[in-house]
Protein backbone atom coordinates (compact mmCIF):
# COMPACT_ATOMS: atom_id res chain seq x y z
CA UNK A 1 0.00 0.00 0.00
CA UNK A 2 1.19 3.49 -0.76
CA UNK A 3 1.30 6.32 1.75
CA UNK A 4 -1.15 8.42 -0.20
CA UNK A 5 -3.54 5.50 -0.46
CA UNK A 6 -3.34 4.96 3.27
CA UNK A 7 -4.08 8.62 3.88
CA UNK A 8 -6.98 8.61 1.44
CA UNK A 9 -8.40 5.64 3.35
CA UNK A 10 -7.86 7.41 6.67
CA UNK A 11 -9.59 10.50 5.27
CA UNK A 12 -12.65 8.32 4.99
CA UNK A 13 -12.53 7.10 8.55
CA UNK A 14 -16.03 6.85 9.93
CA UNK A 15 -17.15 10.29 11.12
CA UNK A 16 -18.55 8.77 14.31
CA UNK A 17 -15.07 7.63 15.27
CA UNK A 18 -13.62 11.08 14.65
CA UNK A 19 -16.43 12.61 16.71
CA UNK A 20 -15.74 10.21 19.55
CA UNK A 21 -12.04 11.09 19.41
CA UNK A 22 -12.67 14.83 19.46
CA UNK A 23 -15.16 14.59 22.32
CA UNK A 24 -12.78 12.40 24.30
CA UNK A 25 -9.92 14.80 23.62
CA UNK A 26 -11.97 17.68 24.99
CA UNK A 27 -12.96 15.62 28.00
CA UNK A 28 -9.34 14.77 28.76
CA UNK A 29 -8.34 18.37 28.30
CA UNK A 30 -11.07 19.60 30.66
CA UNK A 31 -10.16 16.91 33.13
CA UNK A 32 -6.61 18.22 33.20
CA UNK A 33 -7.82 21.79 33.66
CA UNK A 34 -10.21 20.79 36.40
CA UNK A 35 -7.39 19.08 38.21
CA UNK A 36 -5.23 22.17 37.99
CA UNK A 37 -8.02 24.28 39.35
CA UNK A 38 -8.70 21.75 42.07
CA UNK A 39 -5.08 21.76 43.07
CA UNK A 40 -5.00 25.52 43.27
CA UNK A 41 -8.08 25.59 45.41
CA UNK A 42 -6.63 22.89 47.59
CA UNK A 43 -3.34 24.71 47.93
CA UNK A 44 -5.22 27.77 49.10
CA UNK A 45 -7.23 25.80 51.57
CA UNK A 46 -4.82 23.29 53.01
CA UNK A 47 -6.89 22.86 56.09
CA UNK A 48 -9.84 21.64 54.04
CA UNK A 49 -7.63 19.11 52.31
CA UNK A 50 -6.47 17.86 55.65
CA UNK A 51 -10.05 17.57 56.78
CA UNK A 52 -10.98 15.68 53.62
CA UNK A 53 -8.04 13.34 54.00
CA UNK A 54 -8.96 12.72 57.59
CA UNK A 55 -12.50 11.93 56.54
CA UNK A 56 -11.62 9.58 53.70
CA UNK A 57 -10.27 6.43 55.26
CA UNK A 58 -12.50 6.39 58.29
CA UNK A 59 -15.50 6.08 56.04
CA UNK A 60 -14.49 2.53 55.42
CA UNK A 61 -14.54 1.62 59.00
CA UNK A 62 -17.54 0.08 60.54
CA UNK A 63 -19.13 0.08 63.91
CA UNK A 64 -17.38 3.07 65.40
CA UNK A 65 -19.02 6.31 66.27
CA UNK A 66 -17.66 9.73 65.50
CA UNK A 67 -17.60 11.35 68.86
CA UNK A 68 -16.48 14.62 67.46
CA UNK A 69 -13.22 14.42 69.33
CA UNK A 70 -9.87 14.69 67.67
CA UNK A 71 -9.13 11.17 66.54
CA UNK A 72 -6.08 10.10 64.55
CA UNK A 73 -6.47 9.25 60.86
CA UNK A 74 -7.61 5.71 60.43
CA UNK A 75 -9.18 5.55 63.80
CA UNK A 76 -12.02 7.91 63.15
CA UNK A 77 -15.35 6.78 61.83
CA UNK A 78 -18.40 8.32 60.26
CA UNK A 79 -21.82 7.30 61.51
CA UNK A 80 -23.67 5.06 59.10
CA UNK A 81 -27.00 6.41 60.03
CA UNK A 82 -28.64 9.56 61.22
CA UNK A 83 -31.60 9.92 63.52
CA UNK A 84 -34.92 10.84 62.00
CA UNK A 85 -36.07 13.65 64.19
CA UNK A 86 -39.72 12.77 63.64
CA UNK A 87 -39.68 9.01 64.09
CA UNK A 88 -36.63 8.84 66.24
CA UNK A 89 -35.46 5.92 64.16
CA UNK A 90 -32.14 5.71 62.45
CA UNK A 91 -32.25 6.09 58.72
CA UNK A 92 -29.60 5.77 56.08
CA UNK A 93 -27.73 8.99 55.58
CA UNK A 94 -27.08 9.79 51.92
CA UNK A 95 -24.16 12.03 52.77
CA UNK A 96 -22.41 9.63 55.06
CA UNK A 97 -23.47 6.01 54.99
CA UNK A 98 -23.70 5.66 51.24
CA UNK A 99 -20.59 7.64 50.60
CA UNK A 100 -18.49 4.77 51.81
CA UNK A 101 -19.78 2.46 49.13
CA UNK A 102 -19.68 5.28 46.62
CA UNK A 103 -16.04 5.84 47.46
CA UNK A 104 -15.38 2.22 46.67
CA UNK A 105 -17.25 2.53 43.40
CA UNK A 106 -15.19 5.58 42.47
CA UNK A 107 -12.00 3.64 43.02
CA UNK A 108 -12.93 1.29 40.22
CA UNK A 109 -14.14 4.03 37.94
CA UNK A 110 -10.97 6.02 38.58
CA UNK A 111 -8.83 3.95 36.26
CA UNK A 112 -9.12 4.62 32.61
CA UNK A 113 -7.52 1.28 31.89
CA UNK A 114 -9.99 -0.56 34.01
CA UNK A 115 -12.99 1.70 33.96
CA UNK A 116 -15.81 -0.72 33.41
CA UNK A 117 -19.07 1.01 32.67
CA UNK A 118 -21.15 -2.01 33.44
CA UNK A 119 -21.38 -4.66 36.07
CA UNK A 120 -18.47 -6.65 34.87
CA UNK A 121 -15.50 -6.30 32.64
CA UNK A 122 -14.32 -8.85 30.12
CA UNK A 123 -10.97 -10.55 30.47
CA UNK A 124 -9.51 -12.72 27.73
CA UNK A 125 -7.25 -15.69 28.20
CA UNK A 126 -6.70 -19.03 26.51
CA UNK A 127 -7.51 -20.80 29.76
CA UNK A 128 -8.12 -20.08 33.42
CA UNK A 129 -4.58 -20.93 34.41
CA UNK A 130 -3.32 -18.15 32.16
CA UNK A 131 -5.05 -15.51 34.28
CA UNK A 132 -2.45 -14.17 36.69
CA UNK A 133 -4.11 -14.32 40.05
CA UNK A 134 -3.23 -13.55 43.62
CA UNK A 135 -4.41 -16.28 45.95
CA UNK A 136 -6.81 -15.60 48.79
CA UNK A 137 -5.16 -14.63 52.05
CA UNK A 138 -5.30 -16.85 55.07
CA UNK A 139 -5.23 -13.91 57.44
CA UNK A 140 -8.14 -12.47 59.35
CA UNK A 141 -7.31 -8.92 58.40
CA UNK A 142 -5.98 -7.12 55.36
CA UNK A 143 -4.42 -3.70 55.26
CA UNK A 144 -6.11 -0.71 53.69
CA UNK A 145 -3.55 1.77 52.43
CA UNK A 146 -3.62 5.46 52.00
CA UNK A 147 -1.09 7.51 50.14
CA UNK A 148 -0.40 11.16 49.95
CA UNK A 149 0.40 13.81 47.44
CA UNK A 150 4.04 13.92 46.57
CA UNK A 151 6.07 15.65 43.94
CA UNK A 152 9.42 14.29 42.86
CA UNK A 153 12.45 16.46 43.33
CA UNK A 154 14.16 17.70 40.19
CA UNK A 155 17.56 17.09 41.80
CA UNK A 156 16.64 13.52 42.69
CA UNK A 157 15.40 12.95 39.16
CA UNK A 158 18.63 14.28 37.74
CA UNK A 159 20.58 11.99 40.05
CA UNK A 160 18.44 9.06 38.88
CA UNK A 161 19.14 9.85 35.23
CA UNK A 162 22.85 10.34 35.83
CA UNK A 163 22.97 7.01 37.64
CA UNK A 164 21.65 5.14 34.59
CA UNK A 165 22.35 7.38 31.58
CA UNK A 166 25.64 5.81 30.55
CA UNK A 167 24.63 2.21 31.11
CA UNK A 168 21.28 2.73 29.36
CA UNK A 169 22.92 4.50 26.41
CA UNK A 170 25.45 1.75 26.02
CA UNK A 171 23.03 -1.14 26.60
CA UNK A 172 20.29 0.11 24.26
CA UNK A 173 22.71 1.63 21.74
CA UNK A 174 20.96 4.97 21.70
CA UNK A 175 24.06 7.06 20.93
CA UNK A 176 24.16 10.29 22.83
CA UNK A 177 23.62 10.30 26.58
CA UNK A 178 22.72 13.97 26.68
CA UNK A 179 19.31 14.94 27.93
CA UNK A 180 17.07 17.84 28.81
CA UNK A 181 14.61 17.62 31.66
CA UNK A 182 11.09 18.83 30.95
CA UNK A 183 8.47 19.59 33.54
CA UNK A 184 4.80 18.71 33.00
CA UNK A 185 1.64 18.64 34.96
CA UNK A 186 1.00 15.06 36.07
CA UNK A 187 -2.47 13.81 35.24
CA UNK A 188 -3.15 12.86 38.83
CA UNK A 189 -2.09 16.34 39.88
CA UNK A 190 1.34 17.59 40.82
CA UNK A 191 4.48 17.61 38.73
CA UNK A 192 5.96 15.09 36.37
CA UNK A 193 9.43 15.28 34.89
CA UNK A 194 10.62 13.61 31.75
CA UNK A 195 13.83 13.42 29.76
CA UNK A 196 14.87 11.45 26.72
CA UNK A 197 18.29 10.10 25.90
CA UNK A 198 19.15 9.15 22.37
CA UNK A 199 20.11 10.51 18.99
CA UNK A 200 16.83 9.53 17.37
CA UNK A 201 13.25 9.59 18.59
CA UNK A 202 12.95 6.10 17.12
CA UNK A 203 15.57 4.77 19.47
CA UNK A 204 15.72 6.53 22.78
CA UNK A 205 15.30 5.87 26.46
CA UNK A 206 12.64 7.82 28.29
CA UNK A 207 13.23 8.81 31.90
CA UNK A 208 10.25 9.84 34.01
CA UNK A 209 9.50 10.95 37.55
CA UNK A 210 6.14 11.37 39.18
CA UNK A 211 4.73 10.93 42.66
CA UNK A 212 7.32 8.94 44.58
CA UNK A 213 8.61 7.06 41.59
CA UNK A 214 11.46 7.34 39.11
CA UNK A 215 11.73 5.07 36.14
CA UNK A 216 13.23 4.70 32.73
CA UNK A 217 11.73 2.86 29.83
CA UNK A 218 12.98 1.58 26.54
CA UNK A 219 10.74 0.09 23.90
CA UNK A 220 11.39 -1.20 20.42
CA UNK A 221 8.67 -2.77 18.34
CA UNK A 222 11.36 -4.74 16.53
CA UNK A 223 12.67 -6.15 19.78
CA UNK A 224 15.33 -5.08 22.25
CA UNK A 225 18.76 -5.91 20.91
CA UNK A 226 20.67 -7.95 23.44
CA UNK A 227 24.11 -9.21 22.51
CA UNK A 228 23.38 -8.72 18.83
CA UNK A 229 19.98 -10.38 18.71
CA UNK A 230 16.46 -10.35 20.01
CA UNK A 231 15.12 -12.53 22.78
CA UNK A 232 11.85 -14.37 22.68
CA UNK A 233 9.81 -16.87 24.64
CA UNK A 234 6.65 -18.76 23.92
CA UNK A 235 3.41 -17.77 25.53
CA UNK A 236 2.62 -21.43 26.00
CA UNK A 237 5.71 -21.88 28.19
CA UNK A 238 5.18 -22.24 31.91
CA UNK A 239 6.53 -19.56 34.22
CA UNK A 240 9.46 -21.77 35.16
CA UNK A 241 10.27 -22.52 31.53
CA UNK A 242 10.20 -18.84 30.70
CA UNK A 243 12.53 -17.97 33.56
CA UNK A 244 14.88 -20.77 32.53
CA UNK A 245 14.97 -19.55 28.93
CA UNK A 246 15.59 -15.98 30.06
CA UNK A 247 18.21 -16.75 32.66
CA UNK A 248 21.14 -15.36 30.66
CA UNK A 249 19.19 -12.35 29.46
CA UNK A 250 18.06 -11.50 32.95
CA UNK A 251 21.61 -11.89 34.23
CA UNK A 252 22.89 -9.44 31.61
CA UNK A 253 20.17 -6.90 32.35
CA UNK A 254 20.57 -7.15 36.10
CA UNK A 255 24.35 -6.85 36.01
CA UNK A 256 24.17 -3.90 33.60
CA UNK A 257 21.86 -1.93 35.84
CA UNK A 258 23.18 -3.18 39.18
CA UNK A 259 19.99 -4.97 40.09
CA UNK A 260 19.24 -8.02 42.20
CA UNK A 261 15.78 -9.45 42.40
CA UNK A 262 14.25 -11.40 45.21
CA UNK A 263 11.01 -12.36 43.54
CA UNK A 264 9.43 -12.36 40.14
CA UNK A 265 5.96 -12.41 38.75
CA UNK A 266 4.84 -13.23 35.23
CA UNK A 267 1.67 -11.64 33.95
CA UNK A 268 -0.03 -12.58 30.74
CA UNK A 269 -2.47 -10.14 29.23
CA UNK A 270 -4.61 -11.06 26.27
CA UNK A 271 -6.83 -8.96 24.13
CA UNK A 272 -9.70 -10.05 21.98
CA UNK A 273 -8.20 -8.62 18.83
CA UNK A 274 -4.64 -7.69 19.63
CA UNK A 275 -1.47 -9.61 20.37
CA UNK A 276 -0.67 -10.93 23.81
CA UNK A 277 1.47 -9.09 26.29
CA UNK A 278 3.64 -11.01 28.63
CA UNK A 279 5.23 -8.98 31.38
CA UNK A 280 7.83 -10.21 33.79
CA UNK A 281 8.32 -8.17 36.92
CA UNK A 282 11.58 -8.77 38.76
CA UNK A 283 11.03 -7.24 42.16
CA UNK A 284 13.44 -6.30 44.88
CA UNK A 285 11.28 -5.66 47.88
CA UNK A 286 12.27 -3.21 50.53
CA UNK A 287 12.19 -4.52 54.08
CA UNK A 288 9.08 -2.48 54.86
CA UNK A 289 7.05 -3.83 52.02
CA UNK A 290 5.24 -7.13 52.27
CA UNK A 291 5.55 -9.23 49.15
CA UNK A 292 1.83 -9.91 49.16
CA UNK A 293 -0.43 -8.26 48.32
CA UNK A 294 1.28 -4.95 47.62
CA UNK A 295 2.72 -5.87 44.29
CA UNK A 296 -0.23 -7.72 42.90
CA UNK A 297 -1.37 -7.68 39.35
CA UNK A 298 -3.16 -4.62 38.21
CA UNK A 299 -1.59 -2.49 40.82
CA UNK A 300 2.09 -2.66 40.10
CA UNK A 301 1.50 -0.18 37.31
CA UNK A 302 -1.01 2.01 39.05
CA UNK A 303 -0.03 2.09 42.68
CA UNK A 304 2.97 3.72 44.26
CA UNK A 305 5.23 1.04 45.57
CA UNK A 306 8.29 1.04 47.74
CA UNK A 307 10.06 -1.70 45.84
CA UNK A 308 12.63 -1.44 43.17
CA UNK A 309 11.70 -3.45 40.15
CA UNK A 310 12.52 -4.19 36.54
CA UNK A 311 9.78 -5.11 34.13
CA UNK A 312 10.42 -6.92 30.90
CA UNK A 313 7.66 -6.58 28.35
CA UNK A 314 7.07 -9.12 25.61
CA UNK A 315 4.73 -8.70 22.66
CA UNK A 316 3.49 -11.43 20.39
CA UNK A 317 0.91 -12.00 17.74
CA UNK A 318 -1.28 -15.04 17.98
CA UNK A 319 0.78 -18.21 17.74
CA UNK A 320 4.04 -16.27 17.48
CA UNK A 321 7.02 -16.22 19.76
CA UNK A 322 6.79 -13.34 22.21
CA UNK A 323 9.66 -10.90 21.64
CA UNK A 324 11.26 -8.87 24.41
CA UNK A 325 10.27 -5.39 23.29
CA UNK A 326 10.47 -3.24 26.38
CA UNK A 327 12.49 -2.83 29.55
CA UNK A 328 11.47 -0.64 32.47
CA UNK A 329 13.39 0.05 35.65
CA UNK A 330 11.57 1.62 38.57
CA UNK A 331 12.89 3.07 41.77
CA UNK A 332 11.21 4.89 44.59
CA UNK A 333 12.29 8.17 46.06
CA UNK A 334 14.03 8.28 49.39
CA UNK A 335 11.50 8.39 52.17
CA UNK A 336 8.91 6.43 50.22
CA UNK A 337 8.19 4.38 53.29
CA UNK A 338 6.26 7.42 54.46
CA UNK A 339 4.55 7.93 51.14
CA UNK A 340 1.82 5.47 51.72
CA UNK A 341 0.81 3.98 54.97
CA UNK A 342 -1.27 1.19 56.35
CA UNK A 343 -4.28 3.18 57.45
CA UNK A 344 -6.07 0.27 58.98
CA UNK A 345 -5.98 -3.47 59.29
CA UNK A 346 -9.53 -4.32 58.29
CA UNK A 347 -11.34 -7.53 59.00
CA UNK A 348 -11.44 -9.67 55.88
CA UNK A 349 -14.94 -10.26 54.61
CA UNK A 350 -15.51 -13.98 54.70
CA UNK A 351 -15.66 -15.51 51.23
CA UNK A 352 -19.16 -16.80 51.94
CA UNK A 353 -20.27 -13.25 52.78
CA UNK A 354 -18.68 -11.97 49.61
CA UNK A 355 -20.43 -14.70 47.64
CA UNK A 356 -23.72 -13.59 49.17
CA UNK A 357 -23.14 -10.04 47.92
CA UNK A 358 -22.17 -11.50 44.56
CA UNK A 359 -25.36 -13.58 44.47
CA UNK A 360 -27.43 -10.50 45.17
CA UNK A 361 -25.63 -8.58 42.43
CA UNK A 362 -24.13 -6.14 44.93
CA UNK A 363 -20.96 -5.86 42.94
CA UNK A 364 -18.63 -3.10 41.85
CA UNK A 365 -18.05 -3.94 38.26
CA UNK A 366 -18.24 -0.23 37.69
CA UNK A 367 -21.91 0.37 37.21
CA UNK A 368 -23.65 0.80 40.53
CA UNK A 369 -27.15 -0.23 39.61
CA UNK A 370 -27.51 -4.00 39.31
CA UNK A 371 -30.72 -3.61 37.35
CA UNK A 372 -28.98 -1.57 34.70
CA UNK A 373 -27.20 -4.64 33.41
CA UNK A 374 -29.29 -4.49 30.29
CA UNK A 375 -26.32 -3.04 28.47
CA UNK A 376 -24.45 -6.28 29.04
CA UNK A 377 -25.69 -9.85 28.72
CA UNK A 378 -26.51 -11.05 32.21
CA UNK A 379 -23.90 -13.26 33.83
CA UNK A 380 -24.71 -15.61 36.65
CA UNK A 381 -21.71 -15.53 38.95
CA UNK A 382 -23.23 -18.05 41.39
CA UNK A 383 -21.08 -20.81 40.00
CA UNK A 384 -18.01 -18.68 39.35
CA UNK A 385 -14.81 -20.19 38.01
CA UNK A 386 -12.13 -18.29 39.86
CA UNK A 387 -11.69 -15.86 42.70
CA UNK A 388 -8.65 -13.85 43.71
CA UNK A 389 -7.67 -10.90 45.82
CA UNK A 390 -6.89 -7.71 43.95
CA UNK A 391 -5.98 -4.34 45.37
CA UNK A 392 -7.50 -1.35 43.67
CA UNK A 393 -6.03 2.08 44.21
CA UNK A 394 -7.72 5.38 43.63
CA UNK A 395 -6.46 8.33 41.72
CA UNK A 396 -8.69 10.99 43.15
CA UNK A 397 -9.30 8.75 46.14
CA UNK A 398 -5.89 8.29 47.67
CA UNK A 399 -6.58 4.88 49.11
CA UNK A 400 -6.00 1.30 48.13
CA UNK A 401 -8.49 -1.39 49.07
CA UNK A 402 -8.52 -5.17 48.61
CA UNK A 403 -11.33 -6.72 46.59
CA UNK A 404 -12.45 -10.21 45.79
CA UNK A 405 -12.32 -10.41 42.01
CA UNK A 406 -14.66 -13.09 40.68
CA UNK A 407 -14.29 -14.58 37.22
CA UNK A 408 -16.87 -16.45 35.21
CA UNK A 409 -16.31 -18.01 31.82
CA UNK A 410 -18.84 -16.64 29.35
CA UNK A 411 -17.70 -17.94 25.98
CA UNK A 412 -14.97 -17.86 23.38
CA UNK A 413 -13.80 -15.09 21.12
CA UNK A 414 -13.52 -15.60 17.39
CA UNK A 415 -9.80 -15.97 17.84
CA UNK A 416 -10.32 -18.84 20.26
CA UNK A 417 -9.61 -17.11 23.54
CA UNK A 418 -11.84 -17.69 26.51
CA UNK A 419 -13.84 -14.68 27.66
CA UNK A 420 -14.25 -14.27 31.39
CA UNK A 421 -16.57 -11.83 33.10
CA UNK A 422 -14.85 -10.22 36.08
CA UNK A 423 -16.52 -8.33 38.87
CA UNK A 424 -15.52 -7.02 42.27
CA UNK A 425 -16.76 -7.37 45.82
CA UNK A 426 -14.85 -5.59 48.59
CA UNK A 427 -12.74 -8.03 50.58
CA UNK A 428 -13.02 -5.95 53.71
CA UNK A 429 -16.14 -4.74 55.40
CA UNK A 430 -17.46 -1.58 53.81
CA UNK A 431 -19.95 0.51 55.63
CA UNK A 432 -23.38 0.96 54.14
CA UNK A 433 -22.92 -1.45 51.26
CA UNK A 434 -26.34 -3.09 51.54
CA UNK A 435 -28.12 0.22 51.95
CA UNK A 436 -26.20 1.59 49.01
CA UNK A 437 -27.36 -1.10 46.62
CA UNK A 438 -30.88 -1.13 48.01
CA UNK A 439 -31.04 2.58 47.36
CA UNK A 440 -29.76 2.04 43.82
CA UNK A 441 -32.47 -0.50 43.15
CA UNK A 442 -35.09 1.77 44.67
CA UNK A 443 -33.96 4.66 42.51
CA UNK A 444 -33.98 2.42 39.48
CA UNK A 445 -37.61 1.44 40.09
CA UNK A 446 -38.58 5.08 40.54
CA UNK A 447 -37.30 5.76 37.03
Amino acid sequence: MKKEEWNEGMNRLDSGLVEEYVVEKDRLSKKGKRKTMWLRVCAAAACLVTAAAVALIPMLRKGETNTGENVPIGEMSTPATEVNTQSGEQEPNEENAFLNAQTVERLLKDHSSRAPTNQYMEIYAPSLDRISITPLPDTETLPVYSFGDSDPSMDDFKAFIDKYADSATSFFGTGSSEYEIKEHEYYKGGTEYSAYIGESIYNDVGFYAHENEFFFAYHSSKGVNINGGTVSVSESDTDDEIMEKLKDTIDVICSTFGFEYTDFRIERTYDEYLPIYLDIHLALYTPEEPEMPINTYGSIWTRPVRSRYISLGFDAGKGEEAILSGIWLHECAEGSEDYYTVEAEEKVLDLAEAEELLRKGYVFGGYGCPLCMAEQPEVDFTDYDLVEIEYVSGITEKISIPFYAFYKYIGDTKSGLGTYAKTYVPAVEVEGINEYFEKKIENHHKK
Binding site: M1, G9, M10, L13, Y21, S194, D315, G317
Partner: protein
Protein backbone atom coordinates in the same frame (compact mmCIF):
# COMPACT_ATOMS: atom_id res chain seq x y z
CA UNK B 1 -7.43 49.85 24.80
CA UNK B 2 -11.15 49.19 24.77
CA UNK B 3 -10.72 46.91 21.79
CA UNK B 4 -8.02 44.99 23.58
CA UNK B 5 -10.23 44.66 26.62
CA UNK B 6 -13.12 43.45 24.54
CA UNK B 7 -10.90 40.93 22.85
CA UNK B 8 -9.61 39.43 26.06
CA UNK B 9 -13.10 39.25 27.52
CA UNK B 10 -14.54 37.45 24.52
CA UNK B 11 -15.77 33.93 25.03
CA UNK B 12 -16.34 31.41 22.26
CA UNK B 13 -19.89 30.79 21.10
CA UNK B 14 -21.55 27.43 21.57
CA UNK B 15 -21.26 25.19 18.53
CA UNK B 16 -25.02 25.31 18.03
CA UNK B 17 -24.91 29.07 17.77
CA UNK B 18 -22.01 28.96 15.35
CA UNK B 19 -23.87 26.45 13.19
CA UNK B 20 -26.94 28.67 13.32
CA UNK B 21 -24.82 31.50 11.95
CA UNK B 22 -23.79 29.25 9.05
CA UNK B 23 -27.44 28.46 8.41
CA UNK B 24 -28.27 32.16 8.52
CA UNK B 25 -25.48 32.71 6.01
CA UNK B 26 -23.93 35.14 8.44
CA UNK B 27 -20.21 35.56 7.80
CA UNK B 28 -19.68 35.86 11.51
CA UNK B 29 -19.90 32.07 11.41
CA UNK B 30 -16.39 31.92 9.99
CA UNK B 31 -15.13 34.54 12.39
CA UNK B 32 -16.52 32.61 15.34
CA UNK B 33 -15.21 29.30 14.01
CA UNK B 34 -11.80 30.83 13.59
CA UNK B 35 -11.89 32.35 17.06
CA UNK B 36 -12.89 29.11 18.71
CA UNK B 37 -11.01 26.48 16.74
CA UNK B 38 -8.14 28.18 14.94
CA UNK B 39 -5.49 27.08 17.41
CA UNK B 40 -6.54 23.45 17.39
CA UNK B 41 -7.03 23.24 13.63
CA UNK B 42 -3.70 24.94 13.06
CA UNK B 43 -2.06 22.30 15.27
CA UNK B 44 -3.67 19.47 13.34
CA UNK B 45 -2.51 20.93 10.05
CA UNK B 46 0.95 21.73 11.40
CA UNK B 47 1.43 18.16 12.61
CA UNK B 48 0.80 17.06 9.04
CA UNK B 49 2.57 19.65 6.89
CA UNK B 50 4.98 21.39 9.26
CA UNK B 51 4.67 24.67 7.46
CA UNK B 52 2.96 27.79 8.79
CA UNK B 53 2.01 29.25 5.42
CA UNK B 54 0.63 25.89 4.40
CA UNK B 55 -1.40 25.78 7.61
CA UNK B 56 -2.92 29.16 6.82
CA UNK B 57 -3.85 27.85 3.38
CA UNK B 58 -5.46 24.79 4.93
CA UNK B 59 -7.37 26.92 7.42
CA UNK B 60 -8.76 29.07 4.62
CA UNK B 61 -9.71 25.96 2.65
CA UNK B 62 -11.42 24.56 5.75
CA UNK B 63 -13.46 27.69 6.40
CA UNK B 64 -14.48 27.91 2.77
CA UNK B 65 -15.44 24.23 2.67
CA UNK B 66 -17.44 24.65 5.88
CA UNK B 67 -19.23 27.69 4.47
CA UNK B 68 -20.15 25.69 1.39
CA UNK B 69 -21.16 22.55 3.27
CA UNK B 70 -23.20 24.05 6.11
CA UNK B 71 -26.07 24.10 5.21
CA UNK B 72 -27.26 21.61 4.12
CA UNK B 73 -24.94 19.66 6.43
CA UNK B 74 -25.53 20.11 10.14
CA UNK B 75 -22.50 18.57 11.87
CA UNK B 76 -23.26 16.72 15.09
CA UNK B 77 -19.85 17.72 16.44
CA UNK B 78 -18.55 20.82 14.72
CA UNK B 79 -14.97 20.31 15.85
CA UNK B 80 -14.90 16.79 14.40
CA UNK B 81 -16.31 18.10 11.13
CA UNK B 82 -13.63 20.78 10.96
CA UNK B 83 -10.88 18.30 11.78
CA UNK B 84 -12.06 16.04 8.99
CA UNK B 85 -11.99 18.90 6.52
CA UNK B 86 -8.63 20.29 7.54
CA UNK B 87 -7.05 16.86 7.58
CA UNK B 88 -8.07 16.33 3.98
CA UNK B 89 -6.69 19.72 2.99
CA UNK B 90 -3.46 19.19 4.89
CA UNK B 91 -2.93 15.67 3.59
CA UNK B 92 -3.40 16.90 0.03
CA UNK B 93 -0.77 19.56 0.60
CA UNK B 94 1.49 17.09 2.39
CA UNK B 95 1.65 14.68 -0.53
CA UNK B 96 2.13 17.56 -2.94
CA UNK B 97 5.06 18.84 -0.87
CA UNK B 98 6.52 15.36 -0.42
CA UNK B 99 6.96 15.08 -4.15
CA UNK B 100 9.41 18.00 -3.95
CA UNK B 101 11.19 17.23 -0.70
CA UNK B 102 10.75 15.39 2.55
CA UNK B 103 8.39 17.03 5.02
CA UNK B 104 9.80 16.84 8.57
CA UNK B 105 6.37 16.61 10.17
CA UNK B 106 4.77 14.38 12.75
CA UNK B 107 2.83 12.74 9.94
CA UNK B 108 6.09 11.67 8.31
CA UNK B 109 7.13 10.08 11.58
CA UNK B 110 3.76 8.39 12.07
CA UNK B 111 3.76 7.06 8.52
CA UNK B 112 7.23 5.64 9.03
CA UNK B 113 5.83 3.64 11.93
CA UNK B 114 3.49 2.01 9.45
CA UNK B 115 6.31 0.85 7.20
CA UNK B 116 5.26 -2.76 7.74
CA UNK B 117 2.35 -2.21 5.42
CA UNK B 118 3.00 1.11 3.71
CA UNK B 119 5.84 0.64 1.32
CA UNK B 120 6.29 3.56 -1.00
CA UNK B 121 5.39 7.11 -1.94
CA UNK B 122 4.01 6.56 -5.43
CA UNK B 123 0.78 7.97 -6.82
CA UNK B 124 -2.56 6.45 -5.95
CA UNK B 125 -3.34 3.48 -8.15
CA UNK B 126 -6.28 4.09 -10.48
CA UNK B 127 -8.01 0.94 -9.22
CA UNK B 128 -7.58 1.96 -5.59
CA UNK B 129 -10.85 2.19 -3.65
CA UNK B 130 -10.36 4.70 -0.83
CA UNK B 131 -13.93 4.25 0.42
CA UNK B 132 -13.38 0.55 0.92
CA UNK B 133 -10.09 1.05 2.74
CA UNK B 134 -11.75 3.66 4.94
CA UNK B 135 -14.48 1.14 5.73
CA UNK B 136 -11.97 -1.61 6.53
CA UNK B 137 -9.97 0.66 8.85
CA UNK B 138 -13.15 1.95 10.49
CA UNK B 139 -14.38 -1.58 11.10
CA UNK B 140 -11.05 -2.44 12.66
CA UNK B 141 -10.93 0.67 14.85
CA UNK B 142 -14.49 0.18 16.08
CA UNK B 143 -13.52 -3.16 17.56
CA UNK B 144 -10.63 -1.71 19.55
CA UNK B 145 -11.13 -0.85 23.21
CA UNK B 146 -11.89 2.82 23.73
CA UNK B 147 -8.41 3.82 24.86
CA UNK B 148 -6.75 2.11 21.93
CA UNK B 149 -9.23 3.78 19.58
CA UNK B 150 -8.19 7.11 21.03
CA UNK B 151 -4.50 6.34 20.64
CA UNK B 152 -4.88 5.05 17.10
CA UNK B 153 -6.94 7.99 15.84
CA UNK B 154 -4.79 10.49 17.70
CA UNK B 155 -1.65 9.10 16.14
CA UNK B 156 -2.64 8.07 12.64
CA UNK B 157 -5.56 10.36 11.93
CA UNK B 158 -4.66 13.55 13.76
CA UNK B 159 -0.88 12.90 13.65
CA UNK B 160 -0.59 13.77 17.32
CA UNK B 161 2.90 13.38 18.80
CA UNK B 162 3.17 10.32 21.01
CA UNK B 163 4.27 12.44 23.94
CA UNK B 164 1.05 14.47 23.68
CA UNK B 165 -1.13 11.38 23.64
CA UNK B 166 0.77 9.98 26.60
CA UNK B 167 0.33 13.24 28.46
CA UNK B 168 -3.40 13.31 27.80
CA UNK B 169 -3.89 9.76 28.93
CA UNK B 170 -1.51 10.05 31.85
CA UNK B 171 0.69 7.19 30.76
CA UNK B 172 4.28 7.01 29.70
CA UNK B 173 5.38 7.41 26.11
CA UNK B 174 6.54 3.83 26.17
CA UNK B 175 3.09 2.64 27.07
CA UNK B 176 1.61 4.47 24.10
CA UNK B 177 4.36 3.09 21.88
CA UNK B 178 3.63 -0.37 23.11
CA UNK B 179 -0.08 -0.06 22.45
CA UNK B 180 0.53 1.41 19.01
CA UNK B 181 2.84 -1.44 18.20
CA UNK B 182 0.17 -3.96 19.12
CA UNK B 183 -2.49 -2.09 17.16
CA UNK B 184 -0.26 -1.98 14.08
CA UNK B 185 0.33 -5.73 14.24
CA UNK B 186 -3.37 -6.40 14.46
CA UNK B 187 -4.15 -3.92 11.69
CA UNK B 188 -1.58 -5.51 9.43
CA UNK B 189 -3.31 -8.85 9.95
CA UNK B 190 -6.68 -7.27 9.24
CA UNK B 191 -5.50 -5.59 6.04
CA UNK B 192 -3.93 -8.80 4.83
CA UNK B 193 -7.12 -10.70 5.51
CA UNK B 194 -8.99 -8.09 3.47
CA UNK B 195 -6.69 -8.72 0.52
CA UNK B 196 -4.46 -5.66 0.72
CA UNK B 197 -0.96 -6.35 -0.50
CA UNK B 198 1.44 -5.65 2.31
Amino acid sequence: MELQKAKTARTPLDDEKIISLYFERDEKAIEETDFKYRKYLFTVAYNIIHDRLGCEECLNDTYLASWNAIPPSRPAVLKAFLVTVIRRAAVRLYHKSMKKSAVPSEMTVSLSELEDFIKDDGDVDSAFDAERLGQVISDFVRLLPKRKRYIFIGRYYASQPIADIAGELGVSRSTVNKELSAIRSALKEKLESEGYSI
